[in-house]
């Protein structure tokens, strides 16, 4: 099942069910006004949403309308909690080169930080940021959305709470990242609002693209129309089930919690490319002694999507955004 959120003048937007081919949608407001509301009553909402989805795919849904992901909001335009992991080891290793930091991390514990969740930018909206001197970068990653997860939930139990899978661009300001990281407090300036691809999908919808609580798909990243990377989501050192359980050790997770994989990265990064610029700069530093690729300029575009290996379908739709200077007030 595929879900999306259309603008309706409210902060949470209007929930729609999207057809399997991504071309049509149907309002789900009779079931739940918003995706957040559906997640709060998922046991009741899911069967009704699946019935509507089946009706839409059968061509027998009277309120069917054309769906254009570029007009959609993020599936959750705001969320109560965004906990972003860093589960790809090759990403972590390369970032230590960029930031000139040796992270002291017990490898048995997932890395995770709490980020800005009150705004997820729409997939085709401009992204306003204060200055290109902050070294603007993208970070392509997968994420999951949970229903309510009680404190102390195990990884095995957590699988039942993973309701939706999403594609996220975690916008990052690299000049500030190591400055904030060295304090031990995590990031405020270096992690502005993320963007999200238009369609949230249930894990079963991904078929073989979801296995071992990991997204088994390549994340295709294009920067100004040039392929930048196509790393595979299966290489996570911890599955999303383990990330959810880690997050719930000393807190209840509210319905609508989004958990991120961290930047998708593979050890064969020299051939497959990267999902962020900083990684490429680290590889250049390793290979040539210095970085050669600049960070983003205002006006640059980044496009992200992920395709199923069976058939080439792009279940999440695309993030396709331009980074712009914020208006001075």
């Amino acid at each position: 099942m595929k879900l999306a959120t259309l603008p309706n003048g409210t902060p949470d937007g209007q929930l729609v069910v999207v057809s399997k081919d991504g071309r049509q949608c149907a309002s789900a407001v009779a079931i739940a006004p918003s995706l957040q509301a559906a997640l709060e009553h998922w046991q009741d909402a899911e069967p009704a949403l699946r019935a509507l989805s089946a009706q839409l795919d059968a061509g027998s849904c009277p309120q069917a309308q054309a769906f254009d992901g570029r007009q959609a909001l993020a599936p959750l335009p705001r969320a109560w909690q965004w906990l972003d992991g860093s589960a790809f080891q090759s990403h972590g290793d390369l970032m230590d080169v960029v930031f000139k930091i040796e992270k002291k991390n017990d490898q048995s514990r997932p890395l995770m930080y709490q980020g800005l969740s009150h705004q997820f930018i729409a997939p085709a909206a401009d992204v306003p940021l204060p200055s290109a001197d902050d070294f603007i970068d993208f970070e392509g990653e997968f994420g999951v959305i949970t229903d309510a997860v009680p404190m102390g939930t195990t990884a095995a139990e957590a699988r039942q709470h993973i309701r939706l899978v999403v594609l996220v661009n975690d916008w990052s300001l690299r000049r500030i990242a190591p400055v904030e990281m060295k304090t031990g407090f995590g990031w405020i300036h270096a992690k502005p609002a993320c963007a999200m691809a238009p369609i949230a999908v249930t894990p079963d919808e991904l078929d073989t693209g979801w296995r071992d609580a990991r997204v088994q798909m390549r994340l295709e990243v294009d920067w100004n129309g040039q392929r930048f990377g196509a790393a595979h989501g299966g290489a996570m050192a911890f599955g999303f089930d383990e990330l959810v359980a880690h997050a719930a050790y000393s807190r209840d997770l509210v319905a609508g919690t989004i958990i991120g994989s961290g930047t998708v990265s593979n050890p064969d990064y020299r051939t497959i490319g990267s999902s962020c610029i900083a990684e490429r700069r680290a590889i250049e530093t390793l290979d040539h002694g210095e970085p050669r690729t600049p960070y983003m300029a205002f006006g640059d575009r980044v496009r992200m999507q992920a395709r199923l290996e069976t058939g080439g379908d792009s279940p999440f739709g695309a993030i396709d955004q331009q980074v712009v200077q914020r208006k001075t007030r």
Copy 2:
């Protein structure tokens, strides 16, 4: 003006105006259903709330009812964003002793992390945590609640966005804090949900207790009925105006954002005491070579309130909570 939130079966609760003496309240649902809703329309809501407040204090409010802070929820039972500073230098210095870390922080930048905001525990509710082996600690601090703050707001502009002042207990698990801090990612396990005193007050209500964008009051902390500390809120190295501006560098702040001062602490901690156990253990380590005060046990209580120096009034009411083992499921 004093505001509070009573339970009504919804996650955001019911907004009430509280009388100056803290003994009566009146429903404000005709103005805004919840404090979050009022903050989203503060320009309209504030005059109406102040009129109701004046009516209540004049004894001419027909819907006046008795107010008991122990029955209240947190003023914001959930918030879209909780950004906690660490603006008291003596606290930071002592924590480096506890954690055996030397933070690499540029002193011109405030320290700040993003914490769990989807739940602020009611002032008299039990606090469930997984294990006393995690070294359970309290952290008494002041906080402010803002309306919507645009990206790029300066400290001078930020003062106009500080709408309410609150008292927070930032529950902390000290065994895990340095483990998470060494990763640079900030805290997930070490920072479970915070609690909040029942009454949120407008800065003007504090009179001389609010100056230089700092709370000029002592935060009285009692642990199991014994005075533990009474540090003064005026010693912040950065005012709340500077903390709000720092937070808004690369993000818009949503209405209802809560910004914390960090643990209230003064350089004369040997006489005035502390607002968390870890600090006292650091002082003991400095004085005796080892910590002597244990962390909290399940069943322990902590009480926090702050009094105005003019008159002894306790404008926020009290946090008075017991820490308990979470129920196994």
